[in-house]
């Protein structure tokens, strides 16, 4: 499998993302030096000086492992996704955005007109009396200037090109990244696959959480800035909206260690296609309500069910928003 110099050729790209995935790859720490013994970087805009023209010049399937983070928000990102698919043996959707849309996919809830207005017109610091708006094509006396075309919604990488593996998490936790890299680089799994999830478990965050479940029912929902949670006790049972039961394991329930609820960044558990539905199912069993009316009252206390239940999965779940 390795190339002529015996080293694996590795690429990393960012699309509609924040750079946290790039940082999480550095996060493998001292093992980074180990990785560099067996691999060389051939594309990584964040950290190395290879340009698009270099990648275009590579033979097909030149890159052994290509990590792609971020969702697909515009035409340039789709173009690069197609280019990297062609140039890579194994394409890995790295992180919550590439695999499920992630937080930027919350934008799928808003119309483009409204977003446009907030950014360029009705904004406390923007001075734009001429009503100028960015244009995909601007003509100057010297030539045309282009910026990419925006898509109506954030797409997952697999909506655009076939993906071999998906590594969830915002960002993926470093130990899981290392395990996944070892598995693919070491040949324990084939380079080509059908979007298999790696770097995560088959259980939920609840299964990894050390907080005690007292089998208490939720009598009312609370918000974390208004309550001091009891240490060591399940936050959901205390009425804090914790996505643990509807989230795939792998992170080690890290947020819970800071007394903060899980926000669901590893996506739906293996048993569920849709994270929001999965959470509604979990809550159904936990509410302290014997009538439908009481259950409705309780759920109405949740200020933002969509942003809470589907924070990372709006590009992938059933809650596709009509544009």
């Amino acid at each position: 499998m390795p190339s002529a110099n015996g080293k694996l050729k590795v690429g990393m790209y960012w699309a509609a993302s924040c750079g946290g995935c790039d940082i999480s790859l550095l996060e493998i720490g001292p093992r980074l030096l180990e990785l560099l013994q067996i691999a060389e970087v051939v594309f990584w805009p964040c950290a190395a000086d290879f340009k698009y023209a270099n990648v275009v010049g590579y033979p097909d399937a030149f890159i052994d492992l290509c990590f792609f983070n971020g969702g697909v928000r515009n035409s340039e990102q789709e173009e690069v996704a197609r280019l990297l698919r062609k140039k890579s043996k194994s394409l890995i959707a790295y992180g919550a955005c590439a695999s499920g849309g992630g937080i930027p996919a919350l934008a799928n809830l808003k119309s483009r007109d409204a977003i446009f207005d907030a950014a360029y017109h009705h904004n406390p610091s923007t001075q734009n009396p001429e009503g100028t708006e960015p244009q995909p094509l601007v003509e100057t006396p010297l030539g045309e200037l282009e910026i990419p075309e925006f898509y109506p919604a954030v797409l997952r990488l697999r909506d655009v090109v076939p993906v071999d593996y998906e590594l969830p998490g915002c960002p993926p936790q470093a130990d899981r990244v290392w395990e996944a890299v070892q598995a693919v680089a070491g040949g324990a799994v084939p380079l080509r696959n059908a979007g298999l999830k790696v770097g995560c478990t088959d259980k939920t965050v609840c299964d990894e959480c050390s907080r005690e479940k007292k089998q208490a029912k939720i009598a009312r929902f609370k918000r974390h800035h208004q309550v001091r949670p009891e240490p060591g006790w399940c936050l959901l049972e205390q009425g804090l909206l914790c996505m643990g039961p509807a989230t795939r394991g792998g992170c080690g329930a890290l947020c819970l260690k800071a007394d903060m609820p899980c926000e669901g960044c590893y996506g739906p558990p293996p048993s569920a296609e849709d994270q929001a539905t999965s959470m509604m199912g979990a809550l159904g069993a936990l509410l302290d309500a014997t009538t439908e009316e009481r259950a409705r009252e309780l759920v109405a206390e949740i200020p933002d069910p969509v942003g809470g239940f589907a924070r990372f999965s709006l590009a992938s779940g059933y809650l596709k928003v009509a544009k």
Partner: protein, 504 residues
């Protein structure tokens, strides 16, 4: 990607740098050369956007310290802290001493980690390997190969320990979850504090070493000193940064101070007053806006006292401050100004863009020293005072911190349930957007002239003009235009426009 179909006018030639590299986020540079081979014009374009301001509407405001770190996973703590401070203001929460100490401690440790990443992984390759060295090795791996594995291990250790510290505070090492309205989600145990002190002690030594390395590699090399002082990397602009009550640099809290290109105080303001002082301009050829000083006005991409263009960088923070809040960094501050302006007091501002790297390493030392001081504060482990509950009616609030890449402003308006109705964010790199465009153009004009062969090395030296800012276009592209205006043109065979339709 630059399309090969983009039309270049007759008599001009286009050179594209796409994508720009060794930074956070997306960008490209289009340079237009005239018939003689001189630079006629140069555009720096930001081709990526996401849309946080709009899609955060409808979210509970206490979630903003968790949502906005995903604007930038390189500096998540900056957004977390600015968001938490804006939430404090929304709820009128007065933070106890311990909560404030904890936030500032976490923030200074984060600064060490972040500035370390920038210096070794993004900036150092240009100096350690050389500006025109082989691009295949002009990166962190090349740097480690050259300075040795021992130093490489220390760099990795500094980052690893920095992220361990982030996890002690916030559970996750990247995108920690712990700054909340009213304080922090958890306090520090004695054992956690001890470990953090060990981390801070190491960071102080590491930062001291890094400053020495900067002297050895950059300042001891006459070619680099010449490049910094006389190269095409110079702009006299206004400077912006946060200062404490003694006008010293503070990353976490204080008032914003602006000085003019000569160093005279232009204005100071509290976070809630930001919109009286800063305005943003929209240009049609890029998605990113251009902030400027409202009282001076937008005069185009020009420097000087009559142009509202300002910079908010490590250098700007040193320019606006009267000094540093820790002894070793103060010493380094005086040496920096003595060398660059001949005035140790720091009253004369520095405008050499490449010297921003030097200012950043001084801040690295300051953050480490300040962290060590804070972790030893007797109130840091108070088991109760790490937070207050927010019980007042929420409304409107602004929070400002110094992100590593510039002054970061979060402004929220909520309804009476604390659900976000409106958000406005002016992020670190965006402050520097106009200055970055100007710096790239000046570097291009200085480096590309008639008869000069435009090599990869020359193009990299143009990229060095923006790299000094440590830009984060992930941060900058938080806003997103919705319905994209679309222009369709029909041309005849000679390129003349026959018809044009616009949807906007």
């Amino acid at each position: 990607m630059t399309s090969p179909h983009a039309k270049t006018s007759d008599g001009y030639r286009r050179i594209s740098i796409d994508p720009i590299t060794r930074l956070e986020g997306h960008g490209k540079i289009d340079i237009f050369l005239d018939g003689d081979g001189n630079v006629a014009e140069c555009f720096f374009q930001v081709p990526e956007l996401r849309g946080f301001e709009k899609f955060c509407e409808g979210r509970p405001v206490e979630e903003m310290p968790r949502l906005t770190p995903r604007i930038c996973g390189v500096c998540p703590e900056a957004h977390m802290m600015a968001a938490a401070k804006a939430c404090d203001a929304v709820y009128g929460a007065e933070l106890p001493l311990t909560a404030r100490l904890l936030r500032e401690l976490q923030y200074n440790i984060f600064y060490v980690t972040d500035h370390t990443t920038n210096f070794y992984a993004l900036a150092a390759p240009d100096f350690v390997m050389g500006p025109t060295s082989d691009p295949a090795t002009r990166n962190l791996i090349g740097v480690i190969g050259k300075v040795g594995l021992e130093i490489g291990r220390e760099v990795i250790k500094c980052r690893a320990w920095g992220h361990e510290a982030a996890a002690i505070f916030g559970g996750k090492p990247v995108n920690p979850a712990n700054a909340i309205p009213g304080g922090m989600s958890k306090g520090l145990s004695a054992q956690e504090r001890d470990r953090l002190e060990e981390i801070c002690r190491f960071m102080q030594e590491f930062a001291t070493f890094t400053l020495k390395l900067f002297h050895d590699v950059v300042l001891a090399n006459p070619e680099y000193v010449e490049l910094i002082l006389k190269g095409p990397y110079y702009h006299e602009t206004y400077s912006m940064g946060l200062v404490d009550e003694k006008n010293r640099v503070n990353f976490y809290d204080g008032k914003v101070r602006v000085v003019d290109p000569k160093g005279k105080e232009f204005c100071t303001y509290q976070p809630r007053e930001y919109a009286q002082h800063v305005a943003e301009r929209v240009e049609p050829w890029t998605y990113l806006k251009f902030p400027y000083l409202k009282a001076v006005g937008w005069k185009g991409f020009v420097d000087g006292v009559d142009s509202g263009v300002y910079r908010a960088t490590p250098q700007s923070r040193l320019n606006v401050a009267d000094g540093m809040n820790s002894p070793r960094a103060q010493e380094a501050y005086e040496e920096y100004f003595e060398t660059l302006t001949g005035d140790r007091s720091g009253k004369t501002p520095v405008h050499h863009t490449l010297a921003i790297h030097w200012a950043r390493v001084i801040e690295l030392l300051n953050a480490a020293e300040r962290g060590l001081e804070l972790v030893r504060h007797p109130a840091i482990t108070d088991p109760q005072a790490f937070r207050v509950l927010c019980d007042k009616t929420p409304g409107e609030g602004v929070g400002i911190v110094e992100a590593p890449r510039g002054t970061l402003t979060h402004h929220y308006v909520t309804d009476e349930r604390g659900v976000l109705q409106k958000a406005n964010l002016i992020v670190g790199t965006t402050n520097n957007h106009a200055a970055i465009c100007m710096s790239i153009k000046r570097a291009a004009q200085g480096l590309i002239r008639k008869g000069v062969e435009v090599t990869e090395g020359v193009l990299n030296m143009i990229e060095m003009a923006f790299r000094a800012y440590d830009p984060c276009f992930g941060c900058a592209t938080h806003s997103l235009p919705g319905r994209m205006p679309l222009r369709v043109r029909v041309r005849d065979l000679d390129g003349a426009i026959l018809a044009e339709r616009t949807r906007g």
